[in-house]
């Protein structure tokens, strides 16, 4: 077997659906039926999961560290809010796509700024763009509603058939459907040759360029795609909560997002989904103990994760499941240890 077909074989095996993955999505769907009183928090988790998946695409696969990913979330949120408020596009799904596209345009425009320079410059530029948009949204308060945010958004039924109910049931399944579809697409993308080339760039941009990968064009493409995802997440936020306020751009949102992704693990797409669940539970837990100072404990979790080391932590977490699987099936775990640092 020559090297090329070996790589292809390996990549194909990686890309195949595992039983664990199917089980994962079945459990998510089952949650929707099992906890009918918890739709609001579950919808929140789904949104966060989608947003985190967007960061995973650029951080976990392409190695772009961003401190301002909330910029795209915010643009999506405001776009969806404005479209619904002024009745430009009433149908939620179309509005969702339009909001995603708006964020995507911004992502494409700013990607040229981001691909320049080293990590630190990227941090600064992404952070700067998010702050800039926040300042803009505050400045043009006649459009965005300023610090009060957009109010009085009324969502039309999905496809003109399914209305949003007050318990958030429709919102939950709508979000779940969007998340799943976008997940399928992201999964396809990261397992394609395009996705493999991104990993090559992340590991060593210089070498990737030497073997003929157009580094900058690939980075622009994935950054734009990630912006689209983040915009959709923002639009879902507005559509399911019927508000959009200035804090969609806040630095804390981008920082929390990193924490979510790091808890879940980068570079295997499920990191965002698992991280979102764990993060929200942690947040609930801490804020029941100390309603005002939960941020301290979140900070402590971040510090500990870094000090212990993300790889080691994931090995610990997966130790028991792997052991069980090894005993039962007598082979290596289906739950692979995710790829490490960016």
């Amino acid at each position: 077997m020559n090297a090329a077909s070996d790589v292809g074989h390996h990549a194909q095996r990686q890309a195949r659906w595992h039983y664990g993955e199917i089980a994962f999505w079945l459990i998510v769907l089952a949650c929707g039926f099992a906890f009918p009183t918890r739709y609001l928090i579950m919808t929140d988790i789904l949104r966060l999961a989608l947003f985190t998946m967007s960061l995973d695409l650029i951080l976990g696969y392409a190695g772009i560290v961003s401190l301002g990913h909330a910029a795209f979330f915010g643009v999506g949120a405001y776009a969806a809010g404005l479209l619904a408020l002024h009745g430009i596009i009433n149908e939620p799904v179309l509005a969702l796509i339009a909001a995603g596209l708006a964020a995507m345009v911004l992502g494409f425009a700013t990607s040229f700024l981001v691909i320049r320079g080293v990590d630190l410059t990227r941090l600064m530029v992404t952070l700067g763009i998010a702050l800039l948009l926040e300042a803009l949204a505050e400045r043009f308060s006649n459009i965005t509603g300023g610090t009060d945010g957009l109010q009085g958004i009324e969502m039309q039924p999905i496809f003109g058939q399914i209305p949003f109910d007050m318990f958030g049931k429709a919102g939950f399944f709508y979000s779940l459907a969007v998340l799943f579809l976008l997940f399928l697409f992201a999964r396809r993308v990261v397992h394609s040759p395009f996705g493999l080339s991104l990993r090559a760039i992340k590991n060593n941009p210089l070498r990737a360029a030497a073997i003929g990968i157009p580094v900058n064009r690939r980075l622009i493409a994935i950054y734009t795609l990630a912006a689209f995802y983040a915009g959709i997440a923002g639009a879902l936020f507005t559509q399911t909560t019927a508000i959009a306020s200035l804090d969609v751009f806040a630095f804390e949102r981008s920082a929390d997002l990193m924490l979510v992704l790091v808890i879940g693990g980068t570079g295997y797409l499920y990191g965002g989904l698992i991280g979102a669940v764990v993060f929200r539970m942690l947040q609930e837990f801490f804020s029941t103990i100390t309603p005002q100072y939960w941020q301290f404990w979140i900070g402590l979790v971040l510090v500990l994760i870094v000090l212990i080391g993300r790889q080691r932590l994931h090995r610990w977490v997966l130790y028991v499941p792997n052991l069980v699987i090894k005993q039962i099936a007598g082979r290596k775990a289906v739950v692979a240890v995710p790829e490490s640092d960016a």
Binding site: T121, M124, G128, A255, G299
Partner: protein
């Protein structure tokens, strides 16, 4: 005309303050290539120490300033020896996460101990009010800031340029490997400089309570300003960050005065444009490694 001069004066005071606050970060980023987003937390620590000493224990303001420096430096060296040290070789992502975590912790901790409202330091009467020089209003407090920060800057420049420690530090910044090959104890140089930078930040925090406002969210609010100073100024000398802080200070004050509606917009746009034009900073020579 006088309004312009007054604005210029305020801008210079503001910029000098920013320089004292941020120059420690320039060393952290330049020497060890460590992204320390928690730098503002040290400034806040110094500010609160000064506030407690002056307001609660009745110390004179000028006696509390050195203690703000010492306490922030002590916290800095303690954290450097116990935590930061392990992260120098880690990826930027890890450093960012770690220091964001520290920032969150410091914000919540100060909120818990001192409450979330803005605090003021009782100033001696000699520092309050302003006087006119040819019709230009000069605030006494701002004048003091310019004097103190100006002296500090000259002192720093002298230490860097003339002393043996300064040449060791410069050697370590230029090429850590070659420097340690020449027998310079790079980690020690760095630990000392880190502590000193934290101390300066603490002093800056104490001085800035009057101008920037001191509350538990200080590290988050001004993080971007510190980073702008360092990234725009470059980290290869202290002249770069110094000029960048002056530029930022004057730009911010003028922006708020002449186009109040645009607010921080001016600063962020300026930063992005400069970073795109010169990714290593306006005055930087080498790329961050």
């Amino acid at each position: 005309m006088t309004a312009i001069l007054t604005n210029l004066f305020d801008g210079v005071a503001y910029g000098m303050l920013l320089f004292v606050l941020a120059c420690g970060l320039a060393v952290t980023l330049g020497l060890m290539n460590f992204v320390n987003l928690a730098h503002g937390a040290f400034a806040m620590a110094g500010g609160y120490v000064c506030m407690v000493l002056v307001n609660r224990m009745g110390w004179p303001f000028f006696a509390a300033l050195p203690l703000a420096f010492v306490s922030a430096a002590a916290i800095g060296i303690a954290l450097e020896r116990t935590l930061y040290r392990h992260l120098y070789t880690r990826s930027h992502l890890d450093q960012v996460l770690f220091t964001i975590g520290l920032t969150f912790m410091s914000v919540a901790a100060v909120d818990y101990i001192q409450g979330s409202s803005r605090v003021f330091i009782n100033l001696p009467a000699a520092l309050q009010g302003q006087f006119d020089v040819f019709g230009v209003g000069i605030g006494r407090y701002r004048l003091m800031i310019i004097v103190i920060c100006g002296l500090l800057t000259i002192g720093l420049q002298m230490v860097l340029a003339k002393t043996r420690f300064g040449s060791r530090l410069r050697a370590a910044v230029d090429d850590p490997r070659a420097a340690s090959g020449l027998g310079i104890n790079v980690p020690q140089v760095f630990a000392f400089t880190f502590a000193f930078g934290c101390g300066l930040a603490g002093l800056g925090g104490a001085l800035s309570a009057e101008i920037l406002g001191l509350d538990p969210y200080f590290p988050l609010k001004f993080m971007i300003y510190f980073l702008i100073v360092v990234t725009v100024g470059g980290s290869s000398s202290i002249t770069g960050p110094f000029l960048a802080s002056l530029l930022l200070g004057i730009g911010d004050v003028a922006g708020k005065y002449y186009v109040p509606k645009m607010g921080p917009f001016v600063i962020y746009t300026m930063m992005i444009v400069i970073l795109i034009w010169r990714p290593n900073g306006l005055f930087g020579r080498t790329a961050a490694r």
